[in-house]
Amino acid sequence: MSEDSDSLWVQRTLAGDPQAFGELVRRYERDVFNLAYRMLNERGEAEDAAQEAFMRAYVNLDRYDPERPFKTWLLSITSNHCIDRLRRRRLTWLSLEEPLPPHPALTSDTPGPEEALLTSERNLLVQEMLADLSPEYRLAVILRYWYDLSYAEIAEMLGTTESAIKSRLFRARQALADYLESRPVSTLDPVLENS
């Protein structure tokens, strides 16, 4: 999908055709949702966050710089919003002294044919591993592995340096490897054997 084509839909939206934005929503719904889900680890909240990210992108569309890829700009909005949500979530937990949320496998909002992939053992294991990282490290891992962004692109998105992202990613990889190593032997191990 070309960036030129994205620019065209952006221009049409800016010219007063809100339906043109629908094309961009359809084009990037999976990318935005996946980022929100990997960050927030809860399907319902991820859909809310993804919707909010699209709404923020729409309202601020006139601030979008057409020299940059639209997808990167959209993912940047999504990641900022997810970080905000995680901060608010943490504050809520601290103030209410509530117990930690249940493991994703135990939540009831996951059944359905479309969610077969989500509930797969591989996904659960990956989500479990990501949840163990700090939001900043988690974001670097997600942007690198699911969006194939370069260190420079990730650094630009997160407003930091390339070397900082390299260091963040290496530490995150080590933490994930340690987590994987420390897990008790379980039925999930065939997943690792196959990877």
Binding site: V25, N123, R173, A177
Partner: protein
């Protein structure tokens, strides 16, 4: 952490990112062979990397994009859309004004010419009276025709059916041209 160890970790990181040339990879593997601990660490990193690389993205539930668009369309119009609409309206008014000025000038010219010339004024008044007489005659004959038709019920029924069919055809054509987004469509929404 020793400098050597940091460099080794950086090389492992680069290897995972596919940034090492074949020769550099050979050097890295040779360096790893020197320590069983480093080999284990590399294997764990490689396994983690592979697991992340092979996990596909998750998709939102069905109809997500439609829900997002419904939420967006229900929002107040953003600033850029208001500006765009305002600009369109201003341009439309400008074009209308540019077209109206010569037409108004022509009308004014004719009007002044007529009222300043008694013969022309009389001629215009006569034309208006003739036209009014013609329209009155036309209406009278239409009323007569209608009265005659009420005597023939079959013909009246056919005429009504034809009128209704024509009206339906016009409604269908208008809705098709406007894309079904006319006043009817809006009123039918809850």
């Amino acid at each position: 952490m020793a400098r050597d160890e940091i460099k080794l970790q950086q090389q492992m990181n680069r290897a995972l990112d596919g940034e090492l040339a074949e020769q550099e990879l050979t050097v890295l593997y040779a360096r790893l062979q020197e320590s069983a601990e480093e080999i284990t660490r590399w294997e764990r990193l490689r396994k983690t990397d592979e697991l992340l690389r092979t996990t596909p993205p998750v998709a939102p539930s069905r109809g997500f994009a439609e829900r997002v668009m419904a939420a967006i369309l229900s929002m107040p119009m953003p600033e850029f859309a208001r500006r765009s609409r305002g600009l369109g309206l201003a341009l439309g008014l400008l074009v209308a004004a540019l077209l109206a000025v010569p037409v108004l000038w022509a009308v004014l010219f004719i009007f002044v010419s007529v009222i300043t010339n008694p013969d022309a004024l009389a001629s215009v008044l006569q034309t208006i009276l003739d036209a009014a007489g013609y329209v009155a005659g036309l209406l009278t004959s239409l009323v007569d025709e209608a009265q005659a038709l009420t005597g023939d019920r079959a013909l009246l029924g056919g005429l009504l059916a034809a009128v209704l069919a024509m009206a339906a055809l016009w409604v269908w054509l208008i809705r098709r041209v406007t894309g079904g987004r006319g006043a009817f469509a809006r009123r039918s929404k809850p």
